[in-house]
Symmetry: C2
Subunit: 204 residues, 2 copies
């Protein structure tokens, strides 16, 4: 399922790697801050965004991150965010991306309630082009709740990876749960991946 | 959240990487087989095991894999499997591991129904030592359904990664869903990670 580097290479890299990931040494994260022991312990807790998940090497998914999630997001060393809502990106989040040199890719998809007949296929195709380009990795895909818009984009990525449809739906349901929409599943089933297949090979 | 190699390194590797992952070129997988076009298309579909998920770089989770999942598992280039049920490993699965040079780490944890008061903490600690050792990566953690035993091990890993408890439970619930057990959550809450923290640093 790996998108790019072989696990053996990665493990060898890991064995040689001198760097320390931020989350492994949380006390270093607030070394410059003046917290008491208990506060420091709380401050250094990792809080992934709502509905966070790892899709593949260098590809993550979630609901809308807020300030409480920035420390965790920083530990992912993101290069890009694929944002799937029409609303402008909140100033606080935009500032975090700026400070962290993370590029925002904005695709304004309406989060309509059912009946949901207007999933913009071309916009999802454009979002997938960004996600499939390893030069944008690590990338976080998010919408508001990480269920429908994000679920459709990830489902289309799984189709591209040739997952059987029942497996694509199973993963969609992990995140959409009680809010699952048959119209999302129909969209994923009908989505034509043929125009994107060449982008998978180009990653090697 | 990365366990080992920095994403920049990984992306550079990816840009240089000459190898093609099996799932990207499924037709190559059955090049030696004599299937008709339609059959070939079906044969080359990827079928992850029930409740499959990516926990972190080189760490995966699932329910019990069967023969239909072997092609997908092969694409992960696994080095190890951490198996959490007391029953002997099925011959067919053992043969697949043998062919693929995947090492089996077997921790026989009873899958008791509630009231479930006997989660063997020491065995889960030993399983975590295997999972935290990047020399065993990529590693697949599985039990029978990938909900309770696997959920507890992954939950304890998340505590070690300093995830806030509500986030640990949120991930557990993605997989356990309607079968979630308060006793599993209590176990994760009480699990003491102090004896394992040094293993995180040792990965760098």
């Amino acid at each position: 399922m790996k998108l790019e580097v072989s696990p053996r290479q990665r493990t060898q890299e890991a064995e040689q790697n001198e760097g320390l990931e931020a989350w492994k040494h949380p006390k270093q994260l607030c070394a410059s801050l003046d917290y008491g022991e208990e506060e420091e312990e709380e401050v250094t807790r990792m809080v992934p965004p709502l509905n966070f998940g790892m899709v593949d090497d260098g590809v993550f998914r979630s609901g809308f991150p807020d300030a409480a999630n920035f420390r965790f997001l920083a530990s992912l060393n993101l290069r890009s965010v694929v944002y799937l809502c029409p609303e402008p990106y909140p100033e606080q989040n935009a500032r975090f991306l700026g400070r962290s040199e993370i590029k925002l890719h904005h695709f304004g998809i309406q989060g309509r309630k059912e009946p949901f007949v207007g999933i913009p296929e071309e916009m999802i195709r454009e979002a997938l082009k960004v996600i499939l380009d390893v030069r944008n990795h690590p990338v976080l895909i998010h919408c508001k709740r990480g269920k429908h818009r994000t679920g459709c984009v990830v489902g289309c990525l799984r189709k591209l990876q040739k997952w059987r449809l029942s497996s694509v739906f199973d993963e969609y349901l992990h995140f959409a749960a009680a809010k699952a929409r048959k119209t999302d599943q129909r969209f994923m089933e009908l989505f034509d991946t043929s125009s994107l297949v060449h982008l998978l090979a180009s990653q090697c």
